[in-house]
Amino acid sequence: MNRIINNPDEVVEDALRGYLRAHQDLLASTDNPRVIRERSAPRQGKVGIVTGGGSGPEPAFLGYIGENMIDAVAIGEIFSSPTAKSFHDAFVAADGGCGVACLYGNYAGDNMNVKMAIRQAAAHGLTVKTVVANDDVPSAPKDERAKRRGVAGEILMWKVGGAKAAEGADLDAVIATAQKAIDNTRSIGIGLTPCTIPAVGKPNFSIADGMMEVGIGHHGEPGIEVGPIRPARELADLMLDAILPDLPFGEGDNVAVLVSGLGATPVMELYILYDHIAEVLASHNITVRHPFVGNYFTSLEMMGVTLTVMKLDEELDRLVGMPAHSIGLTKVAR
């Protein structure tokens, strides 16, 4: 394992110190070392946006703290939900007196810890409502959508929720819009190599040379199919065939598209994939209003890629397009 770490059990602490040092213009620490807030959060009169999750899908989650984005995040160990206490403290750090929208991903640990944190917050009068992202199509059949994992679609949900809160919407409106965002979002991932949790020291699953795993999760959760790797064009087709019919997306739709590397795939390959994705969408008369290509939601040093497509109505289009600034995603007015 060739990694740039000190004590493998302290990678999260060590990295957080570095994030805080490097981004003083964006981030600030809190009393809880596992909670980081936007520098000027809480903003009085604005609904607070919180998320949280295990570390590893860098730069998620704290990479999306910022202007018109997230106000505070709870940070867990590698691939492990933050504690209930950290979620609770993030709620407090984000609350500007208008309640908090906790927009997070559908994982057992996160569900339990958020649930306990909300109980704790309610006990001192802080209202927290949630939207649980479940955009990962291969992780459960359509009629069991509530079981699906949240993956890179969370980023678009945060973008929308953060923008809605920045517009001054109240908590129920922020929740409704973030829910609409994720309801209109579908994702799928393909893994090409495994990843190694530093504290474990070796990969916890394997993908043979020349093979790929379709539907893999961001924490290395097994996918739905293992087979020989195919040309980028066919990967694009396969991914689109899985997600377009699921919503469904169709003729005349406006969409946002997010192609994220899983960590070790060269950026140029993400663009090779995006090229064909955009071509196919155009052939379906689907218009890409907001393309995002990069390492937005990784899985340590896994090779592979995720594709996320969000169907836009006028409101979602406006909110995705609103200028925003964070480590992981910056949208400038142009």
Partner: protein
């Protein structure tokens, strides 16, 4: 030989921590097969923190379970923080200020822990989770008590059933947690939580037996 003096039994939790730490790699390996490979790390981190918080001072077993539960809950997150955390907190609350622990009190404590685990996680027997270790182990404990067995015999029955329960997960298809998405592919390997729960119950049984008075 039918009870344990609680005031001097805090070391039981240190024994639990030793077992978990010794099995750190193995538990992660099991979790790696159908989960995300971190179960051993999470558990070891939480139990080590609790052992450190307890130190050498023996404040008794109820307090030690309480510290363990608090530490898991506030220290490790994941699924295990809330699940094992509430489990040990409710076990501690049941033991309360009792002076001694006998088989019936242990059973009540474990049932209380089980109840909060079920409430939080909504898993059921057969879902391929730690409940597949815990529920049969408790059933065996209760059966031994009903049959008039002494505490040591009842503990042995619990240990044996825990092991059988753990092994039963091998043939199960996961219905909850990360592995649930795998369907049939989750069959054929042990469940990581069932394995750690078996380690916990067996170590608990051994440590209590050593302290029988």
């Amino acid at each position: 030989m039918s009870h344990v003096v609680l005031a001097t039994a805090g070391g039981v939790v240190l024994a639990l921590a030793d077992t978990i730490n010794a099995n750190r790699a193995w538990l992660s390996e099991i979790d790696g097969a159908i989960g995300d490979g971190d179960h051993g790390i999470n558990m070891s981190k939480g139990f080590s923190l609790a052992a450190a918080a307890l130190g050498k001072a023996d404040g008794g077993l109820s307090a030690a379970f309480q510290t363990l539960g608090d530490t898991l809950l506030s220290g490790i997150g994941g699924s295990m923080g809330p699940l094992y955390g509430s489990f040990f907190l409710d076990l501690a609350a049941t033991l309360g200020t009792a002076a001694t622990l006998d088989a019936p009190l242990l059973s009540r404590g474990l049932h209380a822990g089980l109840a909060s685990l079920e409430d939080l996680g909504s898993a059921k027997l057969g879902d391929k989770t730690l409940l597949d270790t815990l529920i049969p182990a408790l059933t065996a404990l209760d059966a031994a008590i009903a049959a008039g067995a002494d505490f040591a015999t009842a503990l042995d029955a619990m240990s044996a059933a825990a092991e059988a329960g753990r092994d039963s997960t091998k043939d199960l298809v996961a219905k909850i947690g990360r592995a649930a998405r795998l369907g049939e592919r989750s069959r054929g390997v042990l469940d990581a939580g069932a394995a750690s729960c078996c380690l916990i119950l067996q170590t608990l049984a051994e440590a209590l037996k050593q302290r029988l008075a």
